[in-house]
Each structure stands twice: as structure tokens, then as C-alpha cells.
């Protein structure tokens, strides 16, 4: 890189900013532009996934009533507005797939990872800018294929986001497109993860030791390693399933299958459970791929708005490493009901319980960070506090699933649906919202409106709980997940009012997101000019203009201290930028 730069007559390492529209905004190599591209991509898919969720919940509130306008929009899946079971099955499958792979992962890793990590470590860009651009432009066709799959005969994939074989091997064509879309996306994530790992290992500014890295960067570093190790397993499994579907192999098809009265051709020799092992070997680390970045963001936001150092910085980093390592030996807890040897079940139970310890340590450390701080209730702070409290609920309900006997009681009921949403919405998404409000001024140079941000937060927080908390109860009362109707069953009929209440709450929750979207776009023009460091934060991204110039820093900063030295007793100023030389302003009385 530097040799090229010298040839270009710039300061060492600095390139001229591209000027053409295409190079600047579309095929940009700048990690900041790519981060924003990911952000728009993820927000768009978040809206798509949210609309699917609204249809799912609408159906559950009034299973026998028609949804009039849908009869026109989706005449095949909903003739006359009445939902066919296959359409409902597509809806929940695609809702989960889109939210997990196309919304949460891109916003946390693609958007915040890309935008924040290089600046936080004091680098001019990612290690491989071209690869970075390729990652984004590989993710785009993935989204195109997954949306296109709604329009093929038989509709979009309807095998659940877990796509258990052999069902997924005999589903209509949409399933093939689902596999292709996720394979494409998997390639994109793999490229990203290699890029992050290399960048964080090689491109840190002088003085930026590993234990001076901000926790967001730590989280994304570990997330990238998880991706690198877990994704190829999923991709391998998906290629095998694709072969079973189109080439007639039988990786997942045991002998003797009879479907619809007809013996299945090309069945024999395969193992149905193999899919589950491969899927969950990826699937559990995937949970942490989605939660670690949110934990990182929370650990970033809490100290800034408590004006206190993060409590137990090293413990935070080590517990993330612990979670990541243990995350690879717990996948069997998704398969307790599959008939595994009880001894093996016990092993998975133990490892799953152990993984709760680092999560608990992180929670205590967040509490410790708040303890005695001077709290500023800004929107990002409220989002981060919500993350902590909702993550606690998701974590505690997770312990139910860790215990084999309790798990086989609640598995595949609405209890699980409640749990996963407390982790992924209450956790990942609140973390993403915190990051959005926190870094928006850095990304766009202007502040988002804080009042409207708080309105958005309050509505989201309240309605989120109204939608998802009752799910635990539905599950215990015997309502399974993935059923398109239940009101004809005497014992589930009385759950309809509660389901309606949840759906109405979801409508409000959905509407509240309009506030975010409007605030987001209006603030780009109208927001208060942010200045380089509106939150008075220490990390490097705040020690450069907002938005940062091309290649981030006029001069690569030198790092002198850890990222969270707030309210140091010997200083008058309550923040202490990582790059401020030690001879900075010193409180006279201290020495």
C-alpha cells in the first residue's frame, strides 16, 4: 500500500479521494461508504422482514378472517385474502431468514463493523478495500435472489429458517433459491470476516495494543473469528442439501421414505440428523455472531454516558473470548428432543450452563459500569440500558432451554419464540439501535433529533415487551410455533384475545419505526451539526472530524491509553482521548 502511495505524491499511505459518482458512492473502496451501504441494505431488509412479521401476526390474531388487501397483493398465497398454509409457512420462514441473515448480521457487522472498526483502531481503511467492496456487492445478489424467490412457482421457501431435512429436501423450488441466496451471502460474510481479522491484527495504530482496543472492536474481532470457523460448516451442509435437491444425492435422505403415498426416488443411505448437527454447529455460534457486536456496542455506550471507565475491561474481553470458545460445544442443546444418548445430552447441558457464566459476568460488569456514574439519558444510552435489561430476560429464559428435561417441555412452543426475540430483538436490535443513534453523528456529521429518538425508544421498548412477553405464556399453555391456525382447537381458542393484543401491539411497534426512519433521513439535512466529538468520547473515531475525511485521519494517531478513561481523578476534563499525549491538561490541585 505505501509503495503505491509514494508513487502518487501524497503523504505516505494517503490516497486521493475518488471523484466520480460511481467510484465514490457505488463501487467505493472506502470502508465508511461500504458501511453506509450495508446500513441502507440492512434497514431495507429490516423493513421487509418486519412486514412479513406483521402478516404472520395478523394471521395469528384472526386466523379465519381474510386480510382484504392481501387478496390483491398476493392472490396465489392468499386467495380472497385468506391465507393458505403454504403461504403462512413461507412467511415465517422468510421472516426469520431475512431478519437473521439479511438485516441483523449486515447492520451489526456490515454497517457498524465496517464503519467503526478501522477508525477505532486508527487505520486508514480495511486491510483489503477491494475485497471489502466485493463483500458488499456479493451480498446484494443474495438479497435479490431471496426476494425473487417469493415469485417462483410454489412460493418462497417454507421449511422454517432451520430447514430441517428431509422436509427441506422435498419442498418446492423456493427452497433451492433459499439455499442459493444463503450460499451467496455466506461467501460475502466469509470475505468480510477475513478482512476484519486481518485488519484488526495488522492495521492498529501505534500504541493500540489489543488491550487498548475498544470493546466494539473486540466484539467484532471475535465475531469475525466465529464467522470464519462456523460459516463453512453451514455452507457445506447447504451444498449437500442443494445436491440432494438437484443432483439426486442422498446425504440427508434415509431409505424407505414415502411421501404422499409414493416412495421417494433416490432415497437411501442418508442421515436426517446430519443436517441438524451441521446446521446447529453453525447455528449456535451464529447466535453469538448476532449478540457479541451488540454487547460490544453496549459496552461502548454505557461508559460514555456514565462518564466512567467500563467496569472490568479485561473481564469483558475475556468473557467474550470464553463465550466464543464455548459457543462451539453447545450446539446439541437444540437437539435434546431428537433422541440423543442421555449422557451426551448431559454433556451439552453442562457446556450450555457453563456458557451462562461469562454472560452473567458481562451483565454484572455493565451494572458495575453504571454504578455511581453520572448518567446521561441520551437515546443511545436508553437503547443500551434496554439492551441490558432485555438481554437479562433472554439469557434467563435461555437457562430453561439449557436443562434437558425442561427443554423437551418447551422446545418448539411459543416459549422459544419469546426467548429468541428477547435475544435477537431485545438484544441484537436494541444494540443496533444504540449504535445507530450513537454513531449517526459520526457517519453523517449531524445529530439525530434526541426527543424523537426518545419517543421512538419509549414506544419500541414498551410495545416490544407487549408483543413478546406473552409468548412465554402461550408456550406454556400448549401453543406450538409454526402453526397457521389454532382457533378451531377448543384448548387454544381462549388464547385468541391474547394473540390479538400482541398483534395490535406489533402494529404500534411497527408504526413506531416510522419515527426512526423519518428522524434518520430528516436529520441528515436538518440535524444539529455534530462536530468531531459530540458525546465527549475517548475512542479514536471521535478524535477526527465528523464525517471523517477520506482515509479517516490527516495523521495516523498514536494511542497512549485505554479507551474508557472517563472522569480520571487527576484530570479536570472528564474525558481523556486515547490519542491525547500524556502532557495534556492536568488538574492543578492533583499534583
Amino acid at each position: 500500500m505505501s509503495t503505491v502511495a509514494v508513487a502518487h505524491e501524497h503523504a505516505p499511505g494517503v490516497h486521493a479521494a475518488p471523484t466520480s459518482f460511481w467510484r465514490k458512492y457505488i463501487f467505493s473502496l472506502d470502508h465508511k461508504v461500504i458501511g453506509k451501504q450495508y446500513m441502507f441494505y440492512a434497514l431495507f431488509m429490516l423493513i421487509v422482514g418486519g412486514l412479513l412479521a406483521i402478516l404472520v401476526r395478523w394471521q395469528l390474531a384472526w386466523p379465519t378472517k381474510a386480510i382484504p388487501f392481501m387478496g390483491k397483493l398476493a392472490p396465489e398465497g392468499m386467495p380472497g385474502g385468506h391465507m393458505l398454509p403454504e403461504f403462512y409457512n413461507s412467511l415465517f420462514t422468510m421472516h426469520a431468514t431475512i431478519m437473521i441473515f439479511f438485516a441483523i448480521m449486515p447492520i451489526l457487522i456490515g454497517a457498524f463493523g465496517n464503519f467503526v472498526v478501522p477508525i477505532q483502531i486508527g487505520a486508514r481503511d480495511m486491510a483489503f478495500p477491494v475485497l471489502n467492496m466485493a463483500s458488499f456487492w456479493t451480498a446484494v445478489p443474495g438479497a435479490v435472489v431471496i426476494i425473487w424467490s417469493f415469485f417462483v412457482t410454489g412460493g418462497a421457501a417454507a421449511g422454517g429458517w432451520t430447514s430441517y431435512a428431509p422436509l427441506s429436501a422435498i419442498q418446492p423450488k423456493g427452497q433451492t433459491l433459499w439455499l442459493i441466496a444463503l450460499l451467496i451471502l455466506g461467501l460475502s460474510s466469509l470475505l468480510t470476516s477475513v478482512n476484519f481479522i486481518t485488519t484488526i491484527i495488522n492495521m492498529r495504530a501505534p500504541g493500540m495494543t489489543f488491550f487498548r482496543m475498544p470493546l466494539t472492536t473486540w466484539a467484532l474481532f471475535i465475531t469475525a473469528i466465529l464467522l470464519l470457523l462456523a460459516l463453512p460448516v453451514l455452507s457445506g451442509a447447504m451444498i449437500m442439501l442443494l445436491f440432494d435437491r438437484v443432483l439426486g444425492t442422498t446425504f440427508f435422505l434415509p431409505a424407505g421414505l414415502v411421501v404422499s403415498g409414493q416412495p421417494l426416488k433416490n432415497a437411501g443411505g442418508g442421515q436426517a440428523l446430519l443436517w441438524q448437527h451441521l446446521f446447529w454447529f453453525f447455528g449456535h455460534p451464529e447466535v453469538y455472531i448476532m449478540i457479541l457486536p451488540a454487547m460490544g456496542i453496549t459496552s461502548e455506550v454505557l461508559p460514555v454516558f456514565s462518564r466512567k471507565p467500563v467496569f472490568g475491561y479485561r473481564a469483558m474481553a475475556y468473557s467474550m473470548i470464553g463465550i466464543a470458545g464455548l459457543g462451539f460445544i453447545v450446539w446439541g442443546h437444540h437437539m435434546f428432543q431428537s433422541g440423543m444418548n442421555p449422557l451426551l445430552g448431559t454433556t451439552f447441558m453442562i457446556s450450555t450452563m457453563v456458557i451462562a457464566v461469562p454472560s452473567a459476568i458481562k451483565t454484572f460488569n455493565w451494572l458495575g459500569t453504571l454504578w455511581g456514574g453520572s448518567i446521561r439519558f441520551t437515546t443511545p444510552m436508553l437503547m443500551a440500558l434496554s439492551f441490558v435489561s432485555m438481554f437479562v430476560i433472554g439469557g434467563l429464559s435461555g437457562i430453561f432451554m439449557a436443562s434437558t428435561p425442561v427443554d423437551i417441555f418447551i422446545h418448539d412452543t411459543y416459549f422459544i419464540v419469546g426467548h429468541i426475540h428477547y435475544v435477537l430483538f431485545g438484544g441484537s436490535l436494541f444494540g443496533a439501535f444504540a449504535g445507530l443513534y450513537f454513531w449517526y453523528p459520526k457517519m453523517f456529521g449531524r445529530m439525530m433529533n434526541d426527543t424523537w429518538g426518545k419517543v421512538h425508544w419509549a414506544l419500541t421498548f414498551i410495545t416490544f415487551n407487549l408483543v413478546f412477553f406473552p409468548m412465554h405464556f402461550l408456550g406454556m399453555r400448549g401453543m406450538q410455533r409454526r402453526i397457521y391456525t389454532y382457533t378451531e382447537y377448543e384448548h387454544l381458542k381462549d388464547l385468541q384475545p391474547m394473540n390479538q393484543f400482541m398483534t395490535l401491539s406489533l402494529f404500534v411497534l411497527g408504526a413506531a419505526q416510522v419515527i426512526l426512519v423519518v428522524n434518520f433521513f430528516l436529520s441528515m439535512r436538518r440535524g444539529k451539526v455534530a462536530g468531531p466529538n459530540p458525546w465527549r468520547a475517548n475512542t479514536l473515531e471521535w478524535q477526527t472530524p465528523s464525517p471523517p475525511p477520506h482515509e479517516n485521519f490527516t495523521e495516523i494517531p498514536t494511542v497512549y491509553r485505554g479507551p474508557y478513561e472517563y472522569s480520571a481523578p487527576e484530570r479536570a476534563d472528564d474525558h481523556w482521548p486515547q490519542s491525547e499525549p500524556p502532557s495534556g491538561p492536568v488538574r492543578a490541585s492533583a499534583h
Binding site: P85, Q271, I375, I462, E488
Partner: protein, 333 residues
């Protein structure tokens, strides 16, 4: 900031009100069997402990957020370290407790059923349950569908298989769930402690009509169970009226016989529920509708409107034939 104070309170109130109403024929918290009782006891323990932890953590969060800033930052930091250490220790202790009770409950419910256990084979199909009571000599084998009769107090040993995709056997009043996996034989054992009619449903997503794949468990006194069993052994009842006679004629001369079996007639199809005693069953099409003449006729004429996508095609026949077949099938008690 009343948000977080209001919420858990409301949530707790909601939950208490809701859970105390957790009775029901398909509820995980209304145990009627040895295994379910163990598990639901465990569930409540988890519930109480986790609720307490949640309240405690939130109390700390609140206090931390709203307390005035401490001047003695260094002292606070030291005390904080102690709190975190105590918290981590308490977490480990709670997890250890959970682990111990889970392992011991797990061992108890996984105990192999003894030799006197009643053996029942359950085979999952899209989207109904084939139920077999294997016996020697083989002619004492009983085959039925979507209903399982068991004697109270006697352990039942289930052999779970699948003919197509993965399903899951779940009768929450009696036990947790266990998957039916093609190419594998899983086992599941439970003992009903109370007589009653309990409901179960497929709990693993299995395609289009996963929502309509239920079954009923009748836990009966040993005497009533034996009476039921003997009755099932008999071939189908002979028609006793001309209409029933005609119904049988229609059935055996129709394509029904390629899919369904009725013992004592030429119908030996194996890919659909055995209809030898269909008139004695409480529901039709895996719990989709109650079994009565109206629903039965409706089912035969147009199964796709009751359970869209199921594997029985609509049967075109003259209205009189339909009534006759219905009459005949309902007579097969």
C-alpha cells in the same frame, strides 16, 4: 424512567394470572403423568429462581442508574469488584443447583421402562399418526390412528418412527417431546397417573399441515383399556342396515381401498389411517374436526377444504353414495 419499574411488575402480574390458569388438556403445567410431574416441578423451580434473579438484577440496574454519583470513586470501584465477585459466585451456585436437579430429574425420566411396560409403536406421517400395538401372536396386533389408549399406572414404552419427514411426539400433560425421525427408532416412556383424555400434537414443523397433526391420549383404568383393546382386535363390524351394506359396497369398489384398510374387507391400503374402527374415534384427520356424520361426509367429499394440502384427494361420488359410505364408516365402532 418509570418504564422499567412498571414493566416487570405488569409482566409479573400478567404471568401469575396467566400461569395459574394453566390448566388444560394440552398444558405443560398441568401434569397427569409421572414424567410430566417431574418436569413441571423443575420448570417451576427455574421460574421462581430466574424471576428472583431478574428482579434483583433490575433492582441493581435501577439503583445504579438513579443513585447520586459517589464522590469516593475509588472506594466504589473496590466495592464494585466485590459485588461482581459475589454475583459471579452466586451465578455459578445457581447454575450448579440447576445442573444437579436437571441431571437427577433427567435420569429419573429416562429410566428404561421395565419388561411389563406396554409397548406402542407410533409412526409419523404427513399429517397423521399411525398407532400400532405390536403383539405376539401377530394377529393380536392392534392398528389404529391418531388415538392412543393407555392404562393408568402402567408404564408405556413408545417406539417412535417416521415414514417421511421429522415429526415430534408431544403430549405435554404426560411428558416432554421426542422426535420421530425417518431412518431411526426413538424411544419414549411415560406413565399416566390420572385417568383422563389428553391432547398431543406434532411439535416439529413437518410441512403444510403441521398445524393439523394432533392426537388424543386416553388414559383409562386397566379394565376399560383391556375392553378397548379386545374390541380393536375384532374385524370391522358387519353392516346391519341396507344403507350400511351399500356404503361398504361403495367403499370397496372405490379407490379408498388403495389407501385405507378395513379389516374383514378387501381394503388393505397402507398409506392412510386404518378405518377398521373409525366410527369409534373422537376426531377425524388427526384432530382436525370432531367425528360426526356431517364432518365425515364433508371430509370424504372435500378433504382439501378441511385440511388444505393433505394427502387425501377429493372423492367424487353421488350424494346417496356419500351418505351410505358415511353411514357405514360411522357404524365401525
Amino acid at each position: 424512567m418509570s418504564r422499567r419499574s412498571g414493566l416487570p411488575a405488569a409482566a409479573a402480574a400478567l404471568l401469575c394470572a396467566a400461569l395459574s390458569g394453566c390448566r388444560g388438556i394440552q398444558s405443560s403445567l398441568d401434569p397427569a403423568g409421572r414424567e410430566a410431574a417431574k418436569i413441571s416441578g423443575l420448570w417451576w423451580l427455574f421460574f421462581y429462581v430466574c424471576t428472583a434473579v431478574f428482579v434483583l438484577v433490575l433492582a441493581f440496574l435501577f439503583y445504579g442508574v438513579f443513585r447520586r454519583r459517589s464522590e469516593d470513586a475509588l472506594g466504589a470501584r473496590e466495592r464494585g469488584k466485590t459485588y461482581v465477585a459475589i454475583g459471579a459466585g452466586a451465578t455459578a451456585a445457581i447454575l450448579l443447583l440447576f445442573l444437579v436437579v436437571s441431571v437427577s430429574a433427567g435420569r429419573e425420566i429416562a429410566e428404561p421402562a421395565g419388561p411389563d411396560a406396554l409397548k406402542v409403536q407410533v409412526i409419523g406421517h404427513q399429517w397423521w399418526w399411525e398407532v400400532r400395538y405390536p403383539a405376539s401372536p401377530a394377529n393380536r396386533t392392534v392398528v389404529t390412528a391418531n388415538e392412543i389408549h393407555v392404562p393408568v399406572g402402567r408404564p408405556v414404552f413408545l417406539e417412535l418412527l417416521s415414514g417421511d419427514v421429522i415429526h415430534s411426539f408431544w403430549a405435554p400433560n404426560l411428558h416432554g417431546k421426542k422426535d420421530l425421525i425417518p431412518g431411526r427408532i426413538n424411544s419414549h416412556a411415560f406413565t399416566a397417573k390420572k385417568a383422563g383424555v389428553f391432547r398431543g400434537q406434532c411439535a416439529e414443523f413437518c410441512g403444510l399441515q403441521h398445524a393439523h397433526m394432533a392426537f388424543t391420549i386416553f388414559a383409562e383404568t386397566p379394565e376399560r383399556y383391556s375392553a378397548w383393546y379386545e374390541k380393536q382386535l375384532a374385524p370391522a363390524a358387519e353392516p346391519s342396515t341396507p344403507s350400511q351394506e351399500r356404503g361398504r359396497q361403495v367403499f370397496v369398489s372405490n379407490s379408498c381401498v388403495f389407501c385405507h384398510a378395513i379389516q374383514g374387507t378387501p381394503a388393505f391400503g397402507q398409506v392412510a389411517p386404518d378405518l377398521t374402527h373409525v366410527g369409534g374415534r373422537g376426531t377425524l384427520a388427526a384432530g382436525s374436526v370432531a367425528n360426526n356424520p356431517g364432518n365425515l361426509a364433508g371430509w370424504i367429499a372435500d378433504p382439501q377444504s378441511i385440511k388444505p394440502g393433505n394427502h387425501m384427494p377429493p372423492m367424487l361420488m353421488a350424494p346417496e353414495d356419500l351418505l351410505a359410505v358415511t353411514d357405514y364408516l360411522e357404524s365401525l365402532k
